[in-house]
């Protein structure tokens, strides 16, 4: 059989005899995309339950509470009357944050002695913690500034704008690039879909290589390079198609920004899929049965995603984490896809594409070398 015939035979297998493979290729990334788009559909964390313990009970303290109430980040779930009540609510997880306004709050603030509001946040889930501290900082800074302005107006007989400028002489404007609302949907979902995509490619390619070990006579006369090339080419093409299908669904249905140019996406995805197909075929060639191959590829999913630098950045990993991260193809792909989609540009596009291409060549070369040896081994064992 020549390469072309093997290709045709493979396509037949992929879509007709073993439809599982096509389902993995096209289904995995789409399923993850849909599932996680629904999960992160709320984009950011809002309405964190907060309990208020107001010891001051003045109009002034109530206006601070009103600011917390007005913020979409908080939802006041109760008012405690004792310290114990407040701590109890935190302990029982009825509230994830507490605002404690001390006695004489209003008096101290207005008489120029300054006063401190205590914000208590549960640190166990740091996504909630950072939402709470950032939003509380903003609210209290704003409240403090307004109070300071009023104080300066009355005490120093300044006009309102002048007083405001003196109380808060430096302000900052924040411009958040690429993902202005810090939406979790834009940040996270693509990477998860890509992790599943890699998994789909692995399982499909693995099933394909492993199936040859069970019926070696069909391709007896074909050369190893022709077998591997002929088998991998259809998967490479189908996976590229699946990638663009996933991306278009992400843009069309889930409003994930699609700033990337088609050529840049094509370059990156084509090289990644090449590397992933190669990696999958290598692992499959090394395993003695499909069961073990499936075990390895499933155990690999989570580390590959976590160490890819997609959420926890590579710069913040230690040397072991970094080294592992650099050996996984996904590390050169998922963050770059996100940059391309959100910013339309990635400085690492060409570097990563090149690395992926080289990885792919190396993986496939080793797979071609190893495949006939393994085949022979299994045949002698059967005899």
């Amino acid at each position: 059989m020549n390469v072309w015939q093997i290709c045709k035979r493979e396509i037949w297998h992929m879509f007709i005899t073993d439809r599982r493979r096509a389902i993995f290729l096209f289904g995995a990334s789409l399923a993850y995309l849909i599932l996680f788009s629904l999960l992160y559909g709320t984009h950011t964390i809002k309405s964190v339950p907060v309990i208020v313990y107001d010891e001051d009970q003045t109009q002034f303290s109530r206006s601070l509470i009103q600011s917390f109430d007005d913020s979409e980040r908080f939802q006041i779930v109760g008012y405690a009357t004792t310290q114990d009540d407040m701590e109890q609510a935190l302990r029982e997880k009825e509230a994830y944050a507490a605002v404690h306004i001390p006695q004489k709050f209003s008096q101290d603030a207005k008489s120029g002695r300054s006063s401190t509001v205590l914000v208590i946040a549960d640190g166990a889930n740091i996504l909630i913690t950072s939402t709470v501290t950032t939003a509380a900082q903003e609210i209290i800074a704003d409240f403090s500034q307004k109070t300071g302005t009023l104080l300066t107006e009355t005490n120093l007989e300044q006009l309102s704008p002048a007083a405001q400028h003196r109380v808060s002489p430096v302000d900052f404007h924040l411009r958040v690039l690429n993902n202005p609302t810090q939406s979790y949907l834009s940040f996270f979902v693509l990477g998860l879909a890509m992790a599943a995509f890699q998994q789909g490619v692995f399982l499909a390619v693995g099933a394909s290589i492993q199936s040859e070990y069970h019926r070696p006579e069909e391709l007896k006369n074909a050369r190893p390079w022709a077998v591997i090339t002929g088998k991998l080419l259809p998967y490479w093409l189908a996976a590229t198609l699946a990638f663009f299908l996933t991306i278009s669904v992400a843009i069309q249905f889930f409003a994930i920004p699609g700033q990337a140019s088609l050529t840049s996406l094509f370059l990156l995805s084509a090289t990644f899929i090449f590397a992933a197909v190669g990696f999958g075929s290598l692992i499959a060639a090394l395993c003695n049965n499909e069961l073990n191959f499936t075990r390895i590829s499933i155990a690999y999913t989570v580390p590959a995603f976590v160490l890819s630098g997609y959420t926890w950045p590579q710069e913040a990993m230690d040397i072991i984490g970094q080294t592992l991260s650099y050996t996984f193809p996904l590390s050169y792909f998922s963050s770059t896809v996100r940059e391309l989609m959100l910013a339309g540009y990635s400085p690492y596009l060409y570097r990563n594409s090149l690395i992926l291409l080289l990885m792919g060549v190396a993986f496939i070369a080793v797979a071609i070398l190893y495949y006939p040896r393994r085949l022979k081994q299994l045949q002698t064992r059967e005899m």
Binding site: L38, A162, L192, S325
Partner: protein, 387 residues
Amino acid sequence: MNLRNIMQEELKTLFQRKSPVGLLLVAIPLLYSLIFGFAYSRNVIKYVPAVIYDQDQTAISRSLAQAYIDSERYQIVAQVTTQEEMEELLRENKALVAIAIPPKFAQNIKLGMASEILLVTNATNNMFANSVISSSQEIIQTFSAASSQKLLEGLNQMPAPALHAAAPVKMGVRIINNPTTSYTNFMLAGLMANGLQIAILLVAGTLIAKEYRRLSRWEGTSATAIVLGKLLPCWAFSIMAFLICLGVVTVCFGVPFRANLFSIIGLGSAFTFLVINLSFFFSAITRDEVSALQVPLLYIMPGLLFSGLSWPQLAMNQFSQTVSSLMPLTYMADTLRDLLLAGYSPVLLKNLLIMLASGSGLYLLTTFTFSQRRRKIQNQTSKEVPA
């Protein structure tokens, strides 16, 4: 065969010399704990690369730049003189945040006209942006309060009242349970539990499916006994794996251990019981061993992310909450973290009961499915024999 024989048989296959699959039960969660423990060892994001574009070049603007240089959250990679250079660095990801100080910054402050600086951050990775926004708020507010104090002193105020007038309300922050907001404390135990769950799926997932090929061995043995005989060894080793990994997580990576040991063991046992029974159930309904492993594939990452470990339940919509309630890790990960960090979880008892009850339910379903399928296969073969 009686229960004891089945268990002996199972132990033999789990730890046979040629492929000791049972070792995966310990190896995978242990590997996960180590890899992720090392990856998160720096705990918080520090040294975000930053560029300063100071158009003012006065003592005041330089003291603001100095505040950024002094903060461990930032590492100043360059001080540039044009907007293009600043944008170039941001574009090339050499800097993830830019601090632009406008011309006449000092002059405007001193004249009482106030001044604004521009903070540009790249939010492609939310982790950086969060760290930048909250620390910049702090730095600039402190700087602003100090400047304001000086201005008010200029209006004949004494330094202390001037500072109090500039910042009449301060915020104290107390973060309980995880005061340094350490990422290791936040994620590691949950990731370990996820590793354990994956290991169980990989090991226990094949155990029932493979029996359909060799039903003759089980003549006269009840389905209840077969499933129970497979369950008990797996369960014992899973609990052991859980405790070993928890030891690694707390001793090697410094995650606090504030709960009492019994509640932790209870939680671990209930969780492994549920996951093993779930794997058995998948195993009982699928076609062959490979599919038994592939069916739960869809569930691995969702199991982790829908569990409320990172994205909290309170931010989920109705649909996600429903999905979340179907994931075993939902009843484990958050509770385990609360137990370790706070020493107490309000939902411990509820979650224990849910896991034990649904585990037992799945056990019954598995035995039912197994005996039904066994009868069907046996009927088929007995029909084929006379023909």
